[in-house]
Symmetry: C2
Subunit: 329 residues, 2 copies
């Protein structure tokens, strides 16, 4: 397997898009008259919750796994994930003729575990609060000879996620819309790194903003301090998909130069945005996936008078959490 | 205003598509690996719940209203609707510089009334069980000099709705998929008439199936008897969007020759399909809008081994009904 230079470039995203054609969904760019009227802005929502396996994660996983040699495929894959990367990896593994073992937190949403099992993935659980998934994952990969497919610290993963931004940029251009801001959630920062790369290629003046849960706003704080900051905890937000200890080293090499700023949203902001997406956009978005929309609807990022592209990154949510959002509708 | 011959033809759908470009959403054609695995079929869902105003009705309303002369626009519009045509008309009226008064049943979902009000429509209510909306609507139109925009008995409306089928056919062709069946809900029959026309133009051998609520299966019974049958009641289903007394005369002229058969679904079938759409497709669909998906997921239309295009026609649903669906997930 050949690898690009450690930092992916625009050509890697274009290459990933070719590879994903016919496998990933070209997700729609949605807008809504009522949301625009309420915010005084022009909001476009890239609906990655409609992506195969229910989140953007399929893009990076497929881009990475489809490049494995036959010998590597025989080794099988090991991945760690709160559940969306897990499903993306399990699906890409099955489609590409290999197997996946996935390390998932004990408190992962049931819907995400079921998604992995559907694709034939083998699930191993760990305690999010006390165990290091990185260390456990590496240990299993070493012991079993499996290929580790990390959730964001990999140029092919970042380039694959970037195809969501490439598509959104093309869709905006068709509409004749030039975004002032792109707002994207950030966990390890792989998606926002790739999306930022593609969006700034298409729209050089566009601002890229990170949306994170309160208490897990490591990108926002890292931008402020100029160095990678670490979150104190790894539990305590309903946004399970975007809780990571710190920005990735590789992703931060891109994000530190690409990001304008960040916003930290509360659980209630996320639930309110899920309800707005349900009511107005008619899409199902999970708490972590709705963080960017929450940041703009809650006013934590000022969008008045602006054209904004927001990524809605996943829709894998259990019923009880969705009912909490509906109760606020 | 010029009118085509009473029965719309394929050229009228193509003409409507040109007119709708830039105003209506090109809604995505969704599929899901798990739904396909569970049914043993290949299911494509045309997600019209993501259409502007939350249902396909905007298509026909815009196609009709955008053709009004300036003098007609000054008269204003009168429409009767359970709520989706209402919102489509209110939006198309506002966009085209005229006003709309809408006759809606007293038990219309609150979300639908709010949608009409957002677009500046004026709402007048009637009792679905005891009053004739057709007679009341005509009386108001006559008294106030308003232009009546009927929900389905109009060639421009049928042709506008048919653009959903035109798009779906184009999307299927891009995917290299040839549908064996198209399944579409039927109220007055405007959508399924237009969609059937477009789909059979693209795929001459395709079967067109109607999905209706139990007790309101006038299309299914009319196909069996060879004449337009009437429903006994006008209340008693959660599928508010597709409860009509009888197939339209104009729509039946098309549907009687285009339809292969029909299926009658229960409230529980609709709620289960809403839950499946929430869980797997990540879209919000209302009870009437999910009838076609309910017909195939409940097994009331046999799709094993087949390629099926299903229309999910609207997503305007109140919270309490959606919670009933979630409770079955």
């Amino acid at each position: 397997m050949t690898r690009p230079a450690d930092l992916p470039a625009m050509t890697d995203i274009l290459d990933a898009a070719d590879r994903l054609a016919g496998h990933a969904v070209v997700t729609p760019l949605l807008s809504n008259d009522r949301l625009d009227a309420e915010t005084g802005a022009r909001i476009f929502v890239k609906a990655e919750c409609l992506q195969r396996t229910g989140s953007f994660k399929f893009r990076g996983a497929f881009n990475r796994i489809s490049r494995l040699t036959d010998a590597e495929k025989q080794c099988g894959i090991l991945a760690y994930s709160s559940g969306n990367h897990a499903q993306g990896v399990a699906a890409a593994a099955r489609i590409n003729g290999t197997t996946a073992k996935i390390l998932m937190p004990e408190d992962a949403p049931r819907s995400k575990v079921e998604g992995v099992l559907f694709w034939g993935g083998e699930v191993v659980t760990y305690d999010r609060a006390t165990e290091s998934r990185e260390a456990m994952g590496q240990a299993i990969a070493d012991a079993e000879g499996r290929i580790l497919v990390p959730p964001y610290e990999d140029p092919f993963i970042i380039a694959g996620q970037g195809t969501a931004g490439l598509e959104a940029a093309e869709q905006l251009e068709v509409l004749g819309a030039t975004p002032d801001l792109v707002v994207c959630c950030a966990g390890g920062g792989g998606l926002i790194a790739g999306v930022g790369l593609a969006m700034r290629d298409a729209f050089p003046g566009v601002e890229i903003w990170a949306a994170e849960p309160e208490g897990f706003d490591d990108h926002r704080r890292s931008l402020a301090s100029g160095q990678r900051e670490t979150n104190e905890r790894l539990t305590g937000s309903i946004c399970d998909a975007i809780i990571t200890p710190t920005p990735g080293a590789l992703t931060w090499a891109l994000n530190s130069t690409q990001l304008t700023g960040g916003a930290a949203i509360s659980d209630d902001d996320a639930l309110d945005a899920m309800a707005a997406a349900w009511r107005h956009l008619k899409i199902v978005v999970e708490p972590g996936g709705v963080a960017a929309l929450a940041a703009v609807l809650s006013g934590k990022i000022d969008i008045a008078g602006k054209t904004v592209c927001v990524l809605a990154t996943g829709g894998n949510v259990d019923r009880a959490v969705f009912e909490r959002a509906l109760a606020r509708a």
